[in-house]
Amino acid sequence: MENKVDFITLKNGLTVIAEQMPNVNSIAFDFRIPVGAAMIDDKYAGAASVISDWLFRGTQSLTSRELIEKFDYLGIHHSGSANTSCINLSAVLESGNFASALELLAQVMLTPRFDQDQFDLSKETSIQEIVSLDDDPRQKVMLRLKEQFYPKPFSNNPMGTIETLKDLEASQAADIYKKNLDLSRTIISIAGKYDLSALKTQIDSLFSGDYANHKPDIIPSSSGAKYTHEHHEGSQLHIGLITPTVQISNPDYYNAVAAATILGGGMSSRLFTEVREKRGLCYSVGSKYQTLKDYAGIACYAGTTPDKAQETLDVIVNEFSGIAKGISQDELDRAKVGLKSSLIMSSESSSARSSNLGSDFYLLGKIRSLDEIKQKIESLTTKSVIDFIQNNPLNDFTIFTIGPKKITPPSNN
């Protein structure tokens, strides 16, 4: 079941990682372009998100309409998004049209049209996106939580603010993109059915030119407040909570993921059992491990009606702190089989696999094989997880709430 991974490295430093999936008819690929929110000056905040939309509005040889019509005609499902570390362009399609799709997305990345009138539309779209967040408090609370938790500039929100976006000019956005379009820090990942020698030839002809060589200096500073409440006349209080833990490159990474799973990963997890099953406080409650390259946390979301909100938070905080007292063998076994199953099931989908290849290479500088991950999961013991939690207690909380009423954060905050 282990698939073969091919690496192609060009003279300009571009890395292409491809994995053969013999039993699928699709192919998926991702371009991770190093133009992330963390690399952009505060006065241009939001530029990454605008650029990720602008890129799809035409290339030097194709107008915006011609480009989209080509994507649609070839049955290419495509998207562009921005995060802290990169702009991600991704595509998935039936493998028969792969060569045309790769060429098209290469044009999008390397020779964007960057028209002024299209810029105005991208900017307007990005502003709308920020405005509409107010009608989606559940998404908004987790976004604000991240901004408050990670140190600057890793906390930079790729969407920016309405004020910075209003001031942003097309020439500034285009400059930011060109300056950061460094192929030696760009990662292309591919998963599905392909012919390796044809792929090598095509990669060589599409990407071997010279591009910028720019390594931005990123100096992390302090993070935000411990508790913030934003008033919203909705029906629920939306609670986001996060506590720091080790990042993916740390040897204790798998212990941290196991802890997050035991705490709030499934329906038999502690949060689901204590908050929903025993007390009926929430419909939606759970926790998840999340990581950047150098920082990570275990994050929790819960949505509840205002009268139950304080009790909900208190129970959650109690479960986070209480896990240091011990875990059972059965809890760990359930977490292990859950993690292994998710791993194998996500390897059946070409788009999930492509995205994992890209993020592994970005975060670790290498690809973890499925066997390696499985073996690391299998080797976890109750002792390793408990030792880890006792040495890295889950009790330093950053909390953000949105809703009709404030709650009181835990006293050590």
Binding site: D120, E124, D134, G234, S268, R276, D333
Partner: protein
């Protein structure tokens, strides 16, 4: 792909599509019941019952159930719609028997009073959660307004009042009449041993007794009413338009989906160029919702209150233009290609395949393989779509607007 099926003496049907290359397997219990099979006295019972099915049996507590599921590493859940309640799990092949055994046990639940009382809180939290999701709320209102007194307009969640009023006894009565084996289809996809799984299901289900589980089927085109609802806490305007379309059993089902794709797909559609690409709307989409004996097209638009009037005018123009001029050959080819590649991608994963397999059987009572679906999509002509536009007018719609404007 290899297809097998078996119907037990009591009417329970097992259908299975095997893919020996798959790394996982998926199982689903498709119960043909939903909010349209309710009445005002028991509004919300199908969905509430779906929650209660996880609360265990005479032998299993809810904690036992959750732990047993998680011990199989399953990706599992359930959903309730107007016409189906579906319980599913995707697992590694070695855990399929264990998870299927559990689901089969849960199909005969304890429905205890104290679990019922506790779960009312969770249901009401879920209702509150959707109140904070205007994109969902507007669709729910619009469906309700469009269908008027027709059962397809009944709310899946119910209201705080209807949930407060509901008794455990009413739920037990509903359960007995709807969860009869002849009203349940078990679907399997991915990698599994058919004979083993079938005899396992048979050993659990053979004593379930057959019961008539009828459904009132009546065609209804819609009320075509219009409503504007003021909600002070919103910033955007959320618009939902509903017009009649084909049913699941209609031969034009794929033509109707292609039409919705041409009008309102998220890439390259008429809505995309006129509203999304031009930054007039944050979102503008159309979807065909084919149901049992009826069908609708749902248009959802999110825009700013200042642009709402202009956006509504453009939508009306798009509908009028397509009604007069029809669609073009190029539009149809693009829509087909997008849909075909989406089918390939979705069906590669057993869990993606499961729902389509089960739903097709529930509505058509026969197996539809992927090749047949592909052939049917490819065979749709411009004339067929244009005839459909003439028959089900997009310009006649029910509309609900949620707006912050006074």
């Amino acid at each position: 792909m290899e297809f097998k099926h078996k119907t037990l003496n009591n009417g329970l049907t097992i259908i299975a599509e095997k893919n020996k290359y798959a790394q996982s397997a998926a199982v689903g219990f498709f119960v043909k019941t939903g909010s349209r099979d309710e009445n005002t006295a028991i509004s919300g019972v199908s969905h509430f019952l779906e929650h209660m099915m996880f609360k265990g049996t005479d032998k299993l507590s809810c904690f036992d159930v959750n732990e047993t599921f998680d011990r199989t590493g399953a990706k599992f859940n359930a959903f309730t719609s107007e016409e189906n309640t579906v319980y599913y799990a995707a697992v590694l092949p070695e855990y399929l028997e264990q998870v299927t055994d559990l689901w089969a046990q849960l199909m005969r639940p304890a429905l205890r009073d104290d679990d019922f009382t506790m779960e009312k809180n969770v249901i009401k939290e879920e209702i509150a959660m959707y109140k904070d999701m205007p994109q969902f709320e507007v669709l729910d209102h619009a469906r309700n307004l469009h269908f008027g007194q027709h059962p397809c307009g009944f709310s899946v969640l119910g209201t705080n009042q209807s949930i407060d009023d509901l008794t455990a006894e009413q739920m037990r009565t509903y359960f007995k009449s709807r969860y009869a084996p002849n009203n349940i289809t078990v679907a399997l996809s991915g990698n599994f041993d058919f004979d083993k799984i079938t005899s396992l299901i048979e050993s659990k289900a053979s004593l379930w007794t057959t019961q008539p589980a009828p459904r009132k089927l009546e065609y209804f085109a819609g009320t075509f009413k219009r409503e504007k609802i003021h909600k002070a806490n919103l910033v955007c305007e959320h618009i939902c338009l509903v017009s009649p379309s084909v049913s699941m059993q209609d031969k034009d089902r794929y033509a109707a989906s292609l039409l919705a794709n041409i009008v309102g797909d998220d890439s390259g559609s008429r809505f995309f160029w006129e509203l999304v690409d031009s930054a007039l709307a944050e979102e503008a989409s159309m979807q065909c919702d084919a149901m049992d004996g009826v069908g609708t097209n749902f248009t959802y638009i999110q825009t700013s209150p200042e642009k709402a009037e202009q956006v509504t005018e453009i939508v009306d123009k798009i509908f009028t233009k397509i009604s007069i001029e029809g669609i073009t050959e190029n539009e149809l080819v693009a829509a087909k290609n997008k849909m075909l590649s989406a089918i390939t991608i979705k069906n590669e994963v057993p869990m993606g395949r499961l729902v389509e397999l089960g739903i097709n059987w529930v509505y058509l009572q026969r197996y539809v393989d992927i090749d047949e679906t592909v052939r049917q999509i490819k065979s749709v002509t411009v004339k067929q779509v244009n005839d459909l536009i003439a028959k089900y007018k997009l310009t006649d719609y029910t509309s609900v607007v949620l707006t912050p404007k006074e």
